[in-house]
Symmetry: C2
């Protein structure tokens, strides 16, 4: 059966850019599960009211409804055979740390580099909500948040050191093959990749080289994603 | 058979304070492997020359010699049955990220809070080496590094957010039971715990509560460790 994924889209429905929805896309592809994606915008909360909350990703798998990218990954691992996302309960527990690190360190760092660019690609009906909610969060205008990004990107790149250290010793965060840890980081990097022309990583960065390899996985799922 | 661990000690041979040696102590205890520790000081490099390098931890297991805390953990997991350190190859790969995060983020943060205190507890024969090597690394006197620690500790505590987020959802970094991920972090925190009276964590911090639980594991191995 095909799984339905409600997937954050821009004004252009082919631009999919949620760092959380992309984790789910990669996890579904890793498991070999056919998916039908439904473009969804920030203000389309009534469309996913059946899930009992208002954010994507939401997955509908026949009668089963699951939301929250981490919960979806656990659901897929437990409900589907095929290549593992976590390897073992301990591997799952350790992946939760990587998920927490990305959510508490990387996401905020990336947001400060591209948040004004996002305003240009989201659906016009979402722009009022997006500007007011994000400006309240940052306590300043979106233009001000992003103003010093050419300087700020240097310290952002330094945050990636743990990934670089791991990639010195293994090809993937998951070891010999990608795991959900790779999906977490690569999914998160799809957000700036699809929405902004700002160069987050230097070409020579081992993280950039790993990202390129991730883009080619699963039949080029990442590589084929539409970018602005 | 008993494994021999060359273990960094202070002027008081009962004060053991290496963040790397403690990872190995916890891993050995987790596996239930009897250990004989040999107190070792920074300048005792000839004593471990048999390992082909000059740093601890070094483990001698009959004819086998292994050094580097990560390599030792892999060796123990592969050579010994009993409770797993990693759960699976994927769990091991994910633990490497946690190891890299601790080494590149936490260790430097802790060093800046306690490095001058260390000078007071290490063996007098090590003090000249310690001061000159560390002052070269920091580019300033040990006293200057540590001078603003009451302010700096606030940002250090913020660095622990990924651990806090994980502990909201599971009791241990390893999930339902401690894993080598817990040994990495708890072992690292033994370093300030044993050498300094500076309060690294607030009592109400979930990380402090987890640390207390870790101290009681393995027959109270951490709790019984001598502190200055």
């Amino acid at each position: 059966m095909t799984v339905v994924l409600f997937d954050l889209a821009g004004a252009d429905p082919d631009v999919r850019f949620s760092p959380y929805c992309w984790r789910t896309r990669f996890a579904l592809a890793h498991k070999g599960i056919p998916v039908e994606t439904v473009p969804w915008r920030f203000t389309d909360t009534p469309v996913i009211a059946f899930s009992g909350q208002g954010k994507v990703p939401v997955v509908r798998d026949e009668a089963k409804v699951v939301f929250d990218s981490w919960t979806i990954a656990e659901y897929l691992e437990d409900a589907y055979p095929g290549p593992t996302l976590f390897g073992s309960p301990t591997g799952r527990a350790h992946a939760r740390f990587i998920n927490a690190w990305v959510d508490s360190v990387l996401l905020g760092g990336i947001a400060r580099l591209i948040v004004r660019d996002l305003l240009d690609i989201i659906d016009p009906k979402d722009q009022g909500y997006f500007r007011s909610s994000r400006e309240e969060r940052f306590g300043m205008s979106l233009e001000a948040v992003q103003a010093d990004r050419d300087d700020r990107v240097v310290s952002f790149r330094a945050l990636l050191m743990p990934i670089r250290l791991v990639l010195r010793r293994q090809d993937w965060l998951g070891g010999a093959a990608p795991s959900y840890a790779d999906h977490i980081v690569a999914g998160t990097l799809m957000w700036p990749r699809c929405t902004s022309r700002f160069e987050l990583l230097e070409d020579a960065d081992p993280v950039a080289k790993w990202q390129q390899r991730m883009m080619e996985q699963y039949g080029g799922l990442g590589a084929q994603a539409k970018r602005v």
